[in-house]
Symmetry: C2
Amino acid sequence: MANRDLSEALRQIPTRVSAQPSAAERVADALREQIVNGALRSGTRLTEETIGAALGFSRNTIREAFALLIAERLAAREPNRGVFVATPTAGDIRDLYATRQLIEPAALERGPGFSDEAVARLREVVEAARVCRERGDVAGVAQGNQEFHRSVVRLAGSRRVDHLMEGVLAEMRLVFHLMGDDPGFHEPYLDRNEVIIRDLEAGDRAGATAALRAYLADAEEHLLRALHHP
Amino acid sequence: MANRDLSEALRQIPTRVSAQPSAAERVADALREQIVNGALRSGTRLTEETIGAALGFSRNTIREAFALLIAERLAAREPNRGVFVATPTAGDIRDLYATRQLIEPAALERGPGFSDEAVARLREVVEAARVCRERGDVAGVAQGNQEFHRSVVRLAGSRRVDHLMEGVLAEMRLVFHLMGDDPGFHEPYLDRNEVIIRDLEAGDRAGATAALRAYLADAEEHLLRALHHP
DNA sequence: ATCGCAGGATTGTTGAACAATATGGCGTGC
DNA sequence: GCACGCCATATTGTTCAACAATCCTGCGAT
């Protein structure tokens, strides 16, 4: 029946039009915010009862929220001990950059979303970060830098890959907090984004890709060195 | 204290040495198996009470299992209506292949795990699939083909990317079941894997990558066409 | 046939309960 | 003083029961 198809279609398109997120999702949102902001530091124990009482939800709901955060790798469960804010290891950092080295250059070099307008949007993102630097807005620089890489990955044109990158960037923020948020950490990378975008504007996509690869390799080494000298 | 470091380290290494998975994970495993095997078809409703009674677990545990499957995109929640086995749409298929087009060629062309031994392992996988074809083992051919692509992605050397690919392949199986599991579907692709591996053995990594890209483009079109003529 | 409306079923969420496991303190023996 | 074993306590893992909110179904009225 045509009506069946219609209701099916309506259901597929907007998974939720304006439906409020479930309680578990709201709890997860609140916790995620605190974690990526650094308010909840790596290694912090997330006690079910404490959090439930603090946010006004039952243990079962908190538990569902934990499951979401664990799936995002922002938290880790230690059986019969509890859930903790994740503390990325050197191995985790290497894995993050192995992922980024695979995805970001590939998206930049062959992403189907590439176009003059896309390059213009990337330029805007870099400029916004530069304004933040001139204002001394350290957090803004970091955020702008993340937005640049997020936008690069978006060129791949895949929701799934975007989602993966979202998780990568969230875990990167955890890594930065773990190192104590050195204020000057992100600053030098702005100029390297500038080089990449200039290559793109000059039509040199391969050159931009090579520059991005070098960027990622240096950033990884930078972080790993910082991790061993805390 | 050194002892603190030790217990920390011991905890990091083997997340669980021999610990049995939790009840929720076991339920999720059972359901996942049924889903990717095709025993639970796309669109099937997963009622909390029914499944709980069938497997002997409480509603809360079932709910946690559902959360896992939903995170893997093998199931979808429709608020206040229930959880259903996911039914991939044409858009989902396009997204799957956008992801594969990004990841697989990149892993093959620049993955740090590439080596003569890795090529030899890929050769073995292809040969195993070929044996299945000669035996008329259709399921074996499909499985061998998946194993080939899984192995290609493994060249990237990232757990995270491997995990992404695991989800992609699981959803691919859902797509195949959705189309009715045409017995001859995977057969032609074996020869294309053969071409790829021959390029690799000849030292032509770029050629193999190009062949892989063409493979993926054709497979995507093949599937999308089949979807519109069911 | 369309609309509205009650009745029943299922989900979303809560609260309480209990076993299993981990943590920390205490005493004991060396 | 310190290593060891033991017990009290706290927390997790899981179950069960309950209730409101929402959705689906069928029936009757228009």
